[in-house]
Amino acid sequence: MRPAMQETVSERRSALRTAPGRARDPYGAQTGWRSVARTALPFLVVGALWEITAHLGVFPPRLFPPLEDVAAALVRLTLAGILPRHAAETLLRLLAGFGLAATVGVGLGIAMGRSRLAEDMLLPLVSIGAPIPGVAYAPLFLLWFGLGNVSAVLLVGFVSTFPIVFNTWTGVKAVKEIWVRSAQAMGADEGRLFRQVILPGALPYILAGLRLGLAQAWRILVVVELLAAVPWGLGWLIFGAREFLDTDVMLAGIVVIGAIGLLLENVVFRRLEQTTVIRWGMMAA
């Protein structure tokens, strides 16, 4: 799973280097606020271009609203409690599906990494399912499990299982043979070997797999919410707003979707990595 690892590496780098207050300090003269200003500049430029285009009236304002309308929609919907509820329902669905995927995926991956028989039998099945993009399964799931939450959660779980299985499997197989043998020589039994050598040894890969799985789940959840016609959810919000040409609501929803995605990636997983593999010195910060 070399591509998978590389993806996480490049994504992590970009995250690291844009985190506020953490920007690179090339000449030793950049202080906190200057790096913040440098990060803010591109957004100001793009925002200004957007404003000019919107106010020139090239496009109908309904379709291309100025940013203050989007901000107003964001504030209005947040205060009315509509946006938080949509976001909460979406997150709940994401967590349910991802929790399912993490449990099944890590379990299967470890079994495949440890047992030759499990590897031989499961690998063809997993390899057949993996290259099919997750959304393609959506109509099938809807047909089998009906419209609504069950389909949405199962589909999200199903889709994010694949990267988790592959990375866990690779990780368990990548644990250095010499660690296993030295632990055995020092008298570790099967249980301790697993908990104290194999699991920590495979953890960088498992975390990379979880991160990829969550990212995939997040990428398709929006469209799954539309197709499964769930009553609440950010995906439903933006697709529903299309009917009424509420572009400001759609863009406000997209902003929230982006913010949650950024948060999941940078806060949740970075924290998890810092307390485990980075602290153990298995991966550079």
């Binding site: 590389q6 496009f59 109509p139 197709l227 572009t247």
Partner: protein
């Protein structure tokens, strides 16, 4: 070793057969309606029918042309942008925050906005694919250029390579493993984006559309047949196109170990 591999292969086949048999048994048990859980011969028959009358090929053709158009657009924009970001600090400082902010937004979330702006049809699908493929391209080109061994650059410079030779003969090949892996990821994401976009911004042709449309008529056999085609196309791209690309470049240059096992 070869006995081991034979055994692995036999076990894999047995597992697939067992899965197929289990499916067939459930489908034939009559617990679920035939329309929802068609037996495998029926799926195969549908697949052959659709291949024979050319409709499946036409769906695949439409999907692939949308995908390749979007992917090409993403490469044309993303690759130079990523390389520039890796080379010029000012470009990097400007675009990196934008890329980091836009990347976590799923491409399919833009579908309703794009439909409003560009109407239903091909433009939406192509743009969504382009959006999905752009970020892996940019980020990998950027990391690739930055990870080129400084020693190579200095060695080439010392041997008298000028700026353009340095770029074409050292920088670009040096970044190739990253760029190819970016292309792979871009393709995977494009695949998701094109199928999703076809479902929502429906036109009359396309694999995503045919799967979604089959739901209305409870044609689970059409769905499964289309899924098989989607999987086959994805797999052959991954193995044949990208595999060949890697063998012709980074593997031949000895820059990465054998990729697929």
């Amino acid at each position: 070793m070869s006995r081991q591999r034979t055994r692995s292969f036999v076990r894999g086949m047995l597992a697939l057969l067992a899965a197929a048999a289990a499916y067939e048994a459930i489908a034939r048990s009559g617990l679920f309606p035939r329309a929802l859980l068609p037996v495998l011969p029926k799926v195969a028959e549908t697949l052959l029918d659709m291949l024979a009358d050319g409709s499946m090929l036409r769906h695949a053709f439409y999907t692939l042309s949308r995908l390749l158009a979007g992917l090409a657009l993403a490469v044309v924009i993303g690759l130079p942008l990523g390389i520039l970001m890796g080379r010029l600090r000012a470009v990097e400082g400007f675009f990196l925050p934008l890329v980091s902010a836009l990347m976590p937004i799923p491409s399919l979330a833009w579908v309703p906005v794009f439909i409003l702006w560009f109407g239903l049809g091909d433009t939406v699908a192509v743009l969504v694919v382009c959006y999905a493929a752009m970020f892996p391209m940019v980020l990998n080109a950027w990391s690739g250029v930055r990870s080129v061994n400084q020693l190579w650059l200095r060695a080439a410079g010392a041997m008298g390579a000028d700026e353009s030779a340095l770029f074409w003969k050292v920088m670009l090949p040096g970044a190739a493993p990253f760029i190819i892996s970016g292309l792979r990821q871009a393709f995977q994401r494009s695949w998701i984006a094109v199928v999703g976009a076809e479902m929502i911004a429906s036109s009359d042709w396309g694999l995503g559309w045919v799967i979604y449309d089959a739901k209305e008529f409870l044609n689970a056999d059409v769905m499964l047949a289309s899924l098989a085609v989607i999987g086959a196309i994805g797999l052959s791209f991954e193995r044949l196109v990208f595999g060949a690309l890697e063998r012709a470049t980074v593997l031949r240059w000895g820059m990465v170990g054998t990729a697929n096992e």
